[in-house]
Symmetry: C2
Subunit: 140 residues, 2 copies
Amino acid sequence: MVKRTRFDATDCPVARSVDAVGDWWSLLIVRDAFDGSRRFGEFQRDLGVAKNILSARLRALVDKGILEHTDSDYVLTEKGEALFPVIVALRQWGEAFSFEPGQPHSELLDRRDGKPLRPIEIHAADGRLLTPADTEVRKL
Amino acid sequence: MVKRTRFDATDCPVARSVDAVGDWWSLLIVRDAFDGSRRFGEFQRDLGVAKNILSARLRALVDKGILEHTDSDYVLTEKGEALFPVIVALRQWGEAFSFEPGQPHSELLDRRDGKPLRPIEIHAADGRLLTPADTEVRKL
């Protein structure tokens, strides 16, 4: 087992998020939870991951307060639901760069009208659209 | 070395993104590139990661078209720059849930007025604000 580096003592919120989520499997479990999976078997079927790995990841997500384990269901907490922009951002980047034009892929749609969502935009406090070059990180 | 599962044959854009980015180290390298790191030594100093690991991750990010290697600099490509919403979403989630109230952390600021950015919102094509419950995934 490779020892995972811990980032939770850093002052960078990105690194702390990375540490809190855990690993890519955990992020895909969170994605599945957004997609409606609740039961161990549903996650297992969708991810095709070994039971012991899934079991450990689910437990870690519960420990981190991202999932809640009620009866036999795993449900996103408020903290877990707040990962929605992370999942949508990864999805939109994948749609833009990881498929050939016209190649079919799963889609996240607006329930009301069945249309794809608007691409995420980054805005200033006053509403201006920002590119990475318009921003700077202030380190401690 | 743990064999990494590959998600690049899946029809889920989230999973493909996860596969394309590689691992958490790679994501933190991308974060550092947004924060202004360009040289091997800068990434190494910031991440405190072993040189061989950093070297392999940088090469993989170049192979995936996320970074470009020019002279001694590693610079985000257009595909790499497009990860900005992913990094901002992880940062904002970390700010919300991974620090005690008032605990200092690095900040992403608007260059023009030095203010923190607006929290990312997810919008429908017609502009309505969407929560996870307002959306559904159409699988293939």
